[in-house]
Amino acid sequence: MAPRKKQAPIRVLIAKPGLDGHDRGAKVVARALRDAGMEVIYAGLRQTPEAIVRAAMEEDVDLIGVSILSGAHMALVPRILTLLREERGGRIPVFLGGIIPDEDARRLRKLGVREIFGPGASLEEIVTSARRLAGRAS
């Protein structure tokens, strides 16, 4: 076969559902994951849960990072998880970034969100768990 024996890069979708326009966090995370050698599909602002799941399926990503700062996480995230299951993509791990109250965080974890990063999370932490969630812990 062709001379390419390097391990396949992790593909990750970074999406920002909902109506708020604060995508700096998502962009910073996208860049950190890129610098860690991942292929980051940046889906941009104001995506519907349907569009996010569609993109995840078409792009065959290993994991999905969702950033929400609008406070609408309890409406948007469960919808994404449900759609993923319907699309037979239920095994794609989802992590969440944003300001999520503890009570909500507990419920979202129960629904299947694998990691939640608040404003204090370091990029290193996010990169490490992204690798772990994608099944490529170093």
């Binding site: 610098d35 292929e39 940046y42």
Partner: protein, 317 residues
């Protein structure tokens, strides 16, 4: 329709339109995995009829927005369309941010559109090494029209000619004077020129200059690349751009050039693939250290060393 039962299961699922299998096979193709190899072998006889439109041009000329506008136009006409958008990989980390999808707002819920982002993974020329094979998978999955967006990092990504049946070179006003367009690349690959952002001042001038140059270029092939002005902010020129692309496709059929072009592309593909293997073979040759030593000691020059090596290989055959 009879070859279907002999296809491997993944290829059959692909033919049946299973998007999850399509997505997976694209990844496996990118990663050179055996199942994808087998599928590509099996589906190859079923490919070669799709229209593959390549869009190339420097960074920031609006290639993605243009594809979005074309998608809208084509969907109104009921065409199924797949898009492959290539972005660069970082030479340092190997990672990349694939951001073309942001511009494709029509794509998000339409079952007759499929969008896939690809990282170039160190391949130069504006495409990824496996883009051509990914296009074949899309064709086998029933997409008879595939739009391919090149990286667009340098001047013009000439490799698009190696996969597209029609290559569109996208430019904007004030990108440079006409001397820039005389530089190698542009005219050799453009089947259609598109002056995008035509609402900007200078667009008419750019269009005129390009048209004159296109008229000057000796059209040995009998096709003179048309110049279309477009603006994606209000949709100006999009139907005309599509018409120019279709006109080129008609020209390929009527002139008999389609087969000649396909022969050229496949010849290059086979040579390149053979070359890759040969290169690997050479790089692993145990005599390599012995051959480099006198070159390193400045006793013989690299060209002589290579010529002697080649002579030995030929004698051995």
């Amino acid at each position: 329709m009879s070859p279907a039962p002999r296809l491997p299961p993944a290829a059959r699922a692909l033919r049946a339109g299973d998007r999850r299998v399509l997505a997976r096979l694209i990844t496996e193709t990118e990663n050179d995995l055996p199942r994808a190899r087998a599928v590509l072998r099996a589906i190859y006889p079923l490919t070669g009829r799709a229209r593959i439109v390549g869009l190339t041009g420097p960074l920031g000329v609006g290639k993605s927005s243009l594809i979005n506008a074309l998608l809208l136009h084509l969907r109104q006409r009921g065409r199924r369309v797949a898009v492959v958008a290539v972005d660069p990989s970082s030479p340092f980390s190997g990672g990349s941010v694939l951001g073309d999808r942001i511009r494709f707002d029509t794509a998000s819920e339409d079952p007759h559109v499929y969008v896939r982002s690809m990282a170039s993974r160190g391949h130069t020329g504006g495409l990824a090494r496996t883009t051509r094979e990914v296009v074949r998978l899309l064709e086998a999955a029933g997409f008879d029209l595939v739009l391919v967006e090149t990286v667009g990092s340098g001047q013009v990504d000439v490799e698009v000619r190696e996969i597209a049946t029609t290559s569109v070179v996208v430019l904007v006003p004030h990108l440079g004077d006409e001397v820039q367009t005389l530089k190698a690349g542009l005219f050799e690959i453009a089947d259609v020129f598109c002056v995008n952002k035509a609402d900007l001042p200078g667009a008419d001038r750019a269009r005129r200059d390009l048209s004159e140059l296109a008229a000057l270029g000796a059209p040995a092939s009998g096709w003179r690349p048309p110049v279309v002005a477009t603006s994606t902010s209000d949709g100006t020129g999009i139907p005309e751009l599509w018409e120019a692309i279709e006109a080129h496709e008609r020209y390929l059929d009527e002139s008999g050039r389609r087969l000649a072009e396909e022969r050229r592309r496949l010849t290059n593909e086979v040579v390149t693939l053979a070359e890759e293997r040969f290169r690997t073979h050479l790089a692993r040759d145990r005599s390599l250290a012995r051959r480099i030593a006198p070159v390193l000691a400045r006793r013989i020059d690299p060209e002589t060393a290579a010529r002697r090596w080649w002579a030995e290989i030929q004698r051995r055959r």
